[in-house]
């Protein structure tokens, strides 16, 4: 079974940064999602991808990084030694060092909210649905369905035009 994670549709991102503020509120003033602006035009939010083959989990010498039952990559603070290995191998540069406690910190897909059956805060708040939480296979299936519907509609219109002889 594929795991659920946060997907990002950057064509819908309006750079309002509501996700950052929401994440910051849920995580004691630190945001694990960042919105980047590209050439004044497109914006894109970037957060931990909770990779299928997560290099941070693979490389962690103390097994401080692990997966919970939903498949989110979490960090056990008592095991972390702050060696920064995960930060170096992560292609997105996600794990950050907490300068006070000298341990790493990262997106936990709002574990406390998931425990109550809620969505991660950034997904819940995104005004344009640029962020959504789901299973990759389900998302793909949904997109195929939408595409098919559109194609059928188009075909029907074409037929109508032919019938009326326009």
């Amino acid at each position: 079974m594929a795991r659920k994670t946060i997907f990002i549709d950057f064509s819908k991102c309006i750079e309002c940064r509501a996700c950052e503020v929401a994440c910051e509120r849920e995580h004691d003033g630190r945001s694990f999602i960042s919105v980047f602006e590209w050439q004044e035009m497109a914006a894109m939010a970037l957060n931990c991808r909770h990779c299928e083959k997560a290099p941070c989990v693979e490389v962690c010498p103390t097994n401080a990084l692990y997966r919970d039952e939903d498949g989110a990559v979490l960090l056990a603070p008592q095991k972390c030694i702050g060696c920064l290995m995960c930060g170096i191998v992560c292609p997105f540069g996600i794990p950050e060092l907490d300068l006070i406690n000298k341990i790493m910190m990262k997106c936990d897909l709002c574990a406390h909210r998931r425990a109550e059956g809620k969505l991660p805060a950034c997904v819940e708040t995104c005004p344009t649905d640029a962020l959504f939480y789901g299973d990759f296979n389900e998302i793909i299936r949904e997109r195929r369905k939408k595409f098919t519907e559109k194609a059928i509609e188009l075909a029907k219109t074409a037929e109508r035009i032919k019938l009326t002889g326009v």
Binding site: K12, I14, E15, C16, R17, A18, E20, V21, A22, E24, R25, G29, E40, M41, A42, A43, E124, T125, C126, P127, T128, D129
Partner: protein, 711 residues
């Protein structure tokens, strides 16, 4: 310990989002998204960054906790509530005895309907119609313009209709940045296949989603809209049946737009002719269309004409009185619509009943039990000029910050120094407060309860989530105490003896036809709220206005034509070669009194940046991040430059939150009395950081430190 989850309305923009505040023993600890309330304005409980950060400003260290009295300018002593109320009431009575028109009252679009009703009742019972609020500076042309055409000045449809439209024309409005949650409905329509047309002098984040983008010069809206109407009429794309049956004045429109050929419009606006033709065809042939606008369109000396033309454009295409159609002016603050409905305006009684109409006046004279003034009062800018001449001597300012928010701010500061008596009722120190004689600490929106009306005429009840700090009191309480102290102690509507906001709403139900069925009981039961007009307690509310007839005397839409092209009153010349326009950021709100006290927002949007086109910047030798000084005929303002292609050549865009209104023009629209904040001539000079700091010290401090002295 008692933990509660209280449903409230977001205290920021006009979308009217609902959320829950999590509070422990009256102290806020967090928020929760209102996912479980069906039919609210923010579907699935979505919130923008400001909505996500509603708690921090409530905990600001400098919240006002005790009434203050000024010893000298900016230095205050603490006094008790009874003293403060007695002093305010006595001074108001004194001025009212000589000439009530020496008084000026400011309502507030940032507080509930009830205090706005009370402040205008107080003003009118004292004998003056000098009451106004900041809608004057944002949507006054919308109210006057739409009223002339359709008979009422409100949004004619709802968000649902934006979602159902086939074409959405967004003009003078950075929808994505000003109302992110509202923009959700535009994106949903686009996903369904709707076309988006955006007209804006800047390439905004909204424009990024446009199918057709018309980048016109600031202030050339009349030419642009006339151009669209010209093409729609010439190509016979308008709805002939709708025009014949439900509109009057079409022939004049045909004549008036004759000269606005695409070629002429291209010359004036800088938009290619073929794009204008394409936009007109797309808009007129879509079947269902919505027009939405905001300050970019209204803050001009011809704001009213702009709105009238948009109304005409919508009507000739038949986009009125149907679902998925309409005109949507987007309000900037959460209760602009409500404050207007409650008549915090100089020319009307609650429910837009003209003060000059003897019959309406008679009704209110009997209702309130006093004789009323039948002359239209002063608007905010007019009051400033009247104060300069000594005609207005006292201001009562509730939840407003004219030093930053009004055009030509230097003049406003000059006026405030001249006034004899100023009362400021607010939640935190503002630059305006430095000139106050009496400061009344108010409870913030989430600290008391009442009803609010969002931009789509949806009236909602917001509950009290937390306790106000110190001795801060709800606005309605302060105003009713002052009313009683002035001597209005009659029974029921004839006095100010209220025990709760519900009492006041019941009184509003009795005198405002649109709100007759919107009772406190219904609002508390139905969290999603009710759209006015709602004429009786069993009426479900009205989603789309004008289904059968318009509210004009003859029931028809009065189409308006503007044959003369008018641009901004102040155009670039040799001395001031650039055209200045103002804008806003998604994470900052109004005059930053709330948002700059919120760490999460201050950190992300810390300072203003002036947008300048790369070619202009190269000519002036300005690089990204350089300090520049922007100078107009009214003032100068230091700011960092951002070199970007989002603005057209020759245009400078400056965010107004941080006090850029020292630059803007206060030339007025003759009908709506709105100043031309959106366009004026300016020059740009490169300066050093040291000079910039020196200049900044001369400007009013955005977050002033109030000095409290003893005795």
């Amino acid at each position: 310990m008692s933990e509660r989850l209280v449903p409230v309305v977001c205290p920021y923009c006009g979308v009217g989002c609902r959320l829950y505040i999590r509070s422990v023993d009256g102290y806020p600890v967090g928020i929760e998204y209102a996912k479980d309330i069906p039919g609210i304005a923010n579907e699935l409980g979505k919130l923008c960054p400001k909505g996500n950060a509603v708690i921090e400003y409530l905990l600001a260290k400098d919240r006002l906790k005790k009434p203050l009295k000024a010893k000298e300018q900016g230095k205050f002593v603490e006094i008790s509530w009874s003293e403060a109320i007695r002093e305010v009431a006595e001074r108001l009575k004194d001025y009212a005895k000589d000439d009530p028109n020496q008084l000026m009252f400011f309502g507030s679009a940032r507080t509930f309907n009830e205090p706005n009703y009370l402040i205008q009742k107080l003003a009118r019972m004292l004998g003056t119609n000098n009451v106004d609020h900041c809608a004057r500076l944002c949507h006054a042309p919308t109210v006057t313009g739409l009223k002339a055409i359709f008979g009422a000045g409100a949004m004619t449809n709802t968000y649902k209709d934006i979602e159902e439209a086939n074409v959405i024309f967004i003009i003078g409005h950075n929808y994505a940045e000003t109302h992110p949650v509202g923009f959700r409905y535009v994106l949903k329509a686009k996903e369904r296949g709707a076309k988006i047309i955006v007209a804006d002098p800047r390439f905004t984040r909204t424009a990024w989603f446009a199918d057709i983008f018309l980048q016109h010069y600031p202030g050339t809206d009349i030419a642009l809209i006339n151009g669209l109407i010209h093409i729609i009429i010439k190509e016979r794309l308008y709805d002939e049946k709708f025009v014949r049956e439900r509109c009057v004045g079409f022939d004049e429109v045909v004549k008036a737009v004759e000269k606005f050929t695409p070629e002429f419009v291209e010359k004036v606006t800088g938009v290619p002719a073929e794009l204008i033709i394409q936009a007109a065809r797309t808009f007129a042939t879509a079947g269902k269309g919505v027009i939405t606008w905001a300050m970019g369109l209204t803050q001009h000396t011809h704001g009213t004409e702009n709105v009238k033309l948009l109304g005409t454009l919508s009507a000739i295409c038949g986009y009125q009185g149907k679902e998925g159609c309409g005109c949507s002016p987007m309000r900037g603050q959460n209760n602009v619509q409500g404050a207007c409905d409650m008549a915090a305006l100089p020319n009307v009684f609650p429910g837009y009943q003209a003060v000059t109409d003897p019959e309406k006046r008679k009704f209110f004279e009997e209702f309130w039990g006093v004789e009323l003034n039948g002359e239209v009062g002063l608007t905010t800018i007019e009051a400033a000029y009247a104060a300069e001449k000594g005609k207005v001597k006292a201001y009562y300012i509730m939840g407003e910050n004219p030093v930053i928010s009004e055009a030509n701010a230097n003049h406003v500061v000059h006026v405030l120094q001249k006034l004899e008596f100023i009362v400021v009722q607010d939640i935190v120190p503002t630059p305006t407060m430095e000139f106050a004689d009496i400061v009344l600490p108010a409870a913030a929106m989430l600290e008391n309860e009442g009803s609010l009306t969002n931009t789509e005429r949806r009236v909602q009840w917001s509950f009290q989530a937390i306790n106000p700090p110190g001795e801060a009191r709800p606005d309605w309480w302060i105003l009713s105490e002052i009313g009683k102290a002035v001597g209005f102690d009659g029974q029921g509507p004839k006095g100010f003896d209220y025990t709760s906001p519900e009492d006041i709403l019941r009184e509003i139900n009795a005198c405002t036809p649109q709100y007759r069925g919107i009772t406190p009981e219904r609002l508390k039961e139905n969290l999603a709220g009710i759209h006015w007009p709602c004429p009786s307690p069993d009426h479900p509310g009205t989603r789309v206005l004008y289904k059968d007839k318009f509210l004009t005397p003859d029931g028809k839409a009065h189409l308006v034509a503007v044959s003369e092209y008018k641009g901004p009153v102040e155009l670039p010349d040799e001395e001031y070669p650039f055209l200045l326009t103002t804008m806003r950021y998604v994470g900052q709100y109004h005059t930053v009194t709330m948002t700059m006290r919120t760490q999460a927002l201050r950190k992300r949007w810390p300072e203003p940046l002036a947008e300048i086109h790369p070619e202009d910047a190269a000519k002036l030798g300005i690089k990204d991040g350089d300090w520049v000084k922007i100078v107009t005929r009214r003032g100068e303002y230091p700011i960092k430059a951002k070199v970007t292609r989002t603005v057209k050549k020759g245009v400078i865009a400056v965010p107004w939150h941080w006090g850029a209104n020292v630059l803007t023009n206060d030339a007025l629209d003759p009908i709506a009395k709105i100043p031309e904040t959106k366009a004026c001539a300016c020059k740009v000079i490169k300066i050093t950081e040291e000079d910039a700091r020196k200049l900044m010290d001369k400007l009013p401090q955005l977050i002033p430190k109030i000095e409290i002295v003893r005795g």
